[in-house]
Symmetry: none
Subunit: 96 residues, 4 copies
């Protein structure tokens, strides 16, 4: 029964304005709803991305490798070098 607070507002006090916190309650509600709306949009975009990967897979691409490429493109070239260099150093330290 958290639903009262969750989905209806402070049960029945909507006419005279929130009894709790005065005008602030409306402000709070607005904030929460705007954030939730934006999060939904984010979620929708995530779905779109997923669809593209599904399409890629259908076309015969290796999705994991595509992700890797996208990751590399996001990194500064210097960063990539650095990571690879460090990996080599550790490898040689281990003799592998």
């Amino acid at each position: 029964m958290l639903d009262g607070q969750l989905h209806e507002g402070q049960g029945g006090d909507t006419d005279t304005d929130p009894a709790v916190g005065g005008i602030a309650a409306d402000r709070l509600r607005s904030i929460i709803e705007r954030v939730e709306r934006l999060e939904e949009e984010r979620k929708a975009l995530a779905g779109d991305i997923k669809d593209i990967f599904t399409e890629a897979k259908s076309a015969g691409f290796d999705v994991k490798v595509i992700r890797q490429i996208i990751r590399l493109r996001k990194l500064e070239p210097a960063e990539v070098e650095e990571q690879e260099t460090l990996l080599d150093i550790y490898r040689r330290a281990l003799g592998i």
Copy 2:
């Protein structure tokens, strides 16, 4: 899994698609760019959300608690699923 783009190509790309190393390069590029575009939009939305929280903080709200509220609102639908009591579940586990 080297098949797919390496050994099959994919339907319809054999004529006009510039194949590099047996790969439908344009198709690949398109996939990657679309994903990157969507990720940018996602990032922008994250920024918008952050702005709202900054505003909330300025208005004197406790941002951490607001996050908590949003989290709870998201979780509650899931709790409905758990309405099925453990006793029932045990019974099903026991096959009776």
Copy 3:
């Protein structure tokens, strides 16, 4: 109020043996408890691993790279080759 079923057994019927499912209930309880015990041990090991990485970090190592090395050591050498080859192919297809 799931606690009855969860932590005490089927409230009060422990003497004559479970009223639900006969002997099976005890068997079920045993299975669950053994699994839970093993999962705790797993969790403890995860903590130990985490501690080692913390130590590694303190010693100045790059934890991410160490993880990468461990991952590589786990893979068949052939697998490593394959992934790298495919990555190169995609990269060349994109001209990067």
Copy 4:
């Protein structure tokens, strides 16, 4: 972040530790081997758990449902946290 093992070394390894490329090779090897050992133990435990479920299945239990029970038992302690009602949380968010 090339510092750390590359440019600082770490406390006490300068005298006896075989340094390869400026790296405390033995220290690194020790870290990796300990992690790998622990991961093996984890894997072994996973096998034990799997065996129990196999046994359960043989005994006629519904493995999926047993997993569900274990999952729920794990979640319940968390629910206690949520006892704090949303109203209280809202009040805190509003600072009253």
